[in-house]
């Protein structure tokens, strides 16, 4: 069974318009960096963040008005993807929804636990939003989906695992469409955590190994059995137990893709960490040097959402006039797996 991407939507620090954000990525335009609000006396941390006005369209929905940013981002991206696919969000039909997150609702988690530490109890309004599947729950409610809803948690590779799961559900005949979304929100405590882990930076410089620039946002695609943008193949995730194994894991993932397809362009997962060299080594060993786009220069790294953003970049690339061919989406996460996908225009 073939699985096609029939709709895409995202909310990024550079906006929500697919074409405009893609142009900014191609131009290497970085999103504005801002300091994350943190406790006084602690180190400052920086991120590229989604402008608050971009969630206005969903923020007053009764189900979402007390939710954390991550759920608002997921809702904006999901609604846009369904509309782009020509589906009515009020009645999307027999549709499953798969979500990928890395750190999840970290803002409310931090607020709730801060109350626990300081006061011995936390607010019942905050706790429900701390669960990883809160964005999936809210979006399912928004769309009236009473069937299959899954949330996968992991590093950036969870996005491709979610796509693979969506393809499995389509192939099973259980659903006609599958919404696959990734979402993440930035917070000071994440900045501090990744800093202590030596994986974050206040700026992104590919190949520098200085660290990733934390970002928030969401990206969503709709998978259907017919369409134009074909997912030729998605590898399974290949685990790595230490960073030095990441290149070999991605090489193994690339080895699962159809050998007859040589990609004309790669949409990189490079983020200024060990990922950059590992990814380049694996790709060059498999395909030689190929033109590569680096979306995280512009968008930062919204970990759980980043693979879906790479896929949307691939779709945008295929939507534009240019050389035909297949696009490679390689993903190396920070502490779980490597995976890869190939996407082609079959229009």
């Amino acid at each position: 069974m073939d699985a096609f991407i029939t709709g895409a939507g995202w909310i990024t620090p550079l906006g929500t318009d697919l074409g405009e954000v893609w142009d900014a990525i191609l131009a290497g335009t970085p999103a504005p960096v801002r300091e994350l609000p943190g406790p006084p006396g602690h180190k400052p941390h920086f991120a590229v963040s989604v402008p608050p006005r971009l969630v206005d369209s969903v923020a007053r929905h009764p189900r979402l008005r007390r939710s954390s940013n991550i759920s608002l981002f997921a809702a904006v991206a999901a609604l846009a993807a369904l509309r782009d696919a020509g589906l009515d969000p009020a009645s999307p039909g027999n549709c499953a929804a798969i979500f990928a997150v890395s750190d999840g609702g970290v803002i409310y988690t931090r607020k709730f636990y801060d109350q626990v530490v300081r006061e011995g109890a936390g607010s019942p309004l905050l706790f429900p939003e701390t669960v990883y599947n809160a964005p999936g729950s809210h979006v399912a409610a928004l769309l009236g989906l009473d069937g299959i809803t899954y949330t996968l948690v992991g590093d950036a590779s969870a996005g491709l695992a979610a796509v693979e799961l969506g393809i499995q559900l389509l192939a099973s005949g259980q659903v006609d469409h599958c919404l696959v979304a990734g979402a993440e929100e930035a917070d000071w405590v994440l900045g501090e955590a990744y800093r202590q882990w030596r994986l974050s930076s206040s700026a992104i410089q590919i190949g520098s190994n200085r660290g990733a620039l934390i970002a928030d946002g969401a990206a969503a695609i709709v998978l259907s059995r017919q369409g134009r943008y074909l997912i030729e193949s998605v590898s399974g995730g290949v685990p790595f137990f230490r960073q030095s194994e990441a290149a070999a894991s991605l090489a193994a993932a690339l080895g699962q893709l159809p050998p007859a397809i040589a990609p004309s362009r790669a949409i990189s997962s490079a983020n200024g960490t060990f990922v950059d060299r590992a990814e380049r080594a694996a790709i060059e060993a498999a395909y030689g040097p190929i033109p590569t786009v680096y979306p995280k220069i512009s968008l930062g790294d919204p970990f759980g959402a980043s693979a879906l953003m790479q896929i949307i970049c691939a779709v945008q690339s295929l939507r534009r006039p240019g050389p035909a061919g297949s696009l490679l989406v390689p993903v190396i996460g920070l502490n779980h797996q490597a995976a890869a996908a190939l996407i082609s225009n079959r229009g």
């Binding site: 801060d114 706790f127 429900p128 669960v131 009236g144 299959i148 949330t151 590093d155 955590a193 685990p239």
Partner: protein, 324 residues
């Protein structure tokens, strides 16, 4: 806990070679995140806490277990709150039934954490008293922890290699209750849809189910809706118990633990009891396995798991019969 569970699987069946791991979890390594946050709140020193952070993500215990067992295969962590463990087993079942995988190691885990404890307390969903599922005097849940894994494999392949077959997963139902993030719709539609879909998936009728291992958290809301849905679908003909009355609620691990309990119930010919039971909630007429186990010949068991976010999962588990 994950390492202990995977060692047990390896000890029981050294030849089992999974092509994938599907694991449910909801809190992950939350205790490490708590330690990190407390160190920040105390203005503690940097760097030394990096190891805590590395253990925070829910994939880390899975990776540790994979490395321990030498399983260099894809792993996915399903975080559908308290239904996660059943979702992982259910989706693994679907992949094997449809021929996309031959063997999957699936299950779930979760560990007690202060944040989760305080969270359920904030919702007034937990109790300081005995946990009494389906009881008229129930006052809430008691948290537990644990991990459970199933070596799930294509039936013919398992038989061909001479594997000891403990039981069969024959059905899986999933539904999403869009009513509220923590409260099920009072009609019980979410649990009912999950159970109906599991029965349809197994190709069996409600009358053929011999025992229901209920989600049964002993919260007012869960038991009200689950009890109603069970009564609507099964009447009082099928014995029901919640083993959370003995094990506590292991959240992302609960569905997997209860799948193992269902297998043991079938093997031992015993209905596990719903302890601390005094009187059935008058809202429904159910055959609760009150306080003592009962001998029974079990061929088909339904195991329920429901969670925050309105996520509901039901598994049909059957006796291997002559499958060995």
């Amino acid at each position: 806990m994950m390492i202990a569970a995977i060692r047990e699987v390896r000890a029981q069946d050294p030849a089992f070679a999974p092509q994938q791991l599907l694991i449910g979890a909801t809190g992950g390594g939350m205790t490490f995140g708590e330690a990190f946050f407390r160190s920040l709140a105390a203005g503690g020193p940097d760097r030394r806490h990096a190891a805590w952070l590395a253990n925070y993500n829910p994939q880390k215990p899975v990776l540790d277990a994979q490395e321990e067992a030498g399983f260099r295969v894809p792993s996915a962590i399903i975080a559908n709150a308290c239904a996660s463990g059943s979702n992982a087993i259910g989706h693994a079942f679907e992949l094997i039934r449809r021929g996309r995988r031959g063997a999957i190691l699936c299950g779930g885990y979760d560990a007690l954490s202060e944040l989760v404890f305080r969270g359920f307390d904030s919702l007034q969903a937990s109790t300081a008293e005995k946990v009494r599922p389906f009881d008229a005097a129930r006052t809430g849940l008691v948290l537990g922890e644990g991990a459970a894994l199933l070596a799930l494999e294509n039936h013919e392949h398992a038989r061909a290699r001479g594997a000891r077959i403990l039981g069969l997963v024959t059905g899986y139902g999933i539904s999403t209750d869009t009513h509220h993030i923590t409260q099920p719709h009072p009609s019980g539609i979410g649990p009912r849809l999950a159970m109906e879909r599991a029965l349809a998936s197994a190709g069996c009728a409600a009358q053929s189910v011999d025992y229901i291992n209920a989600h049964g958290t002993a919260t007012l809301f869960n038991d009200a809706t689950e009890g109603l849905a069970i009564a609507q679908l099964f009447g009082n003909r099928v014995p029901v118990s919640s083993t959370k009355s003995m094990m506590g609620h292991a959240l992302g691990g609960a569905g997997a633990i209860e799948a193992v309990i269902s297998l043991l119930a079938i093997r031992e010919g015993l209905l596990p009891p719903n302890i601390n039971f005094t009187a059935c909630d008058p809202a429904w007429d159910l055959d609760i396995v009150a306080n003592r186990s009962r001998p029974a010949t079990l061929r088909r068991v339904l195991s329920n798991s429901f969670g925050f976010g309105g996520t509901n999962a039901s598994l049909v588990i059957e006796s291997a019969g002559g499958a060995n």
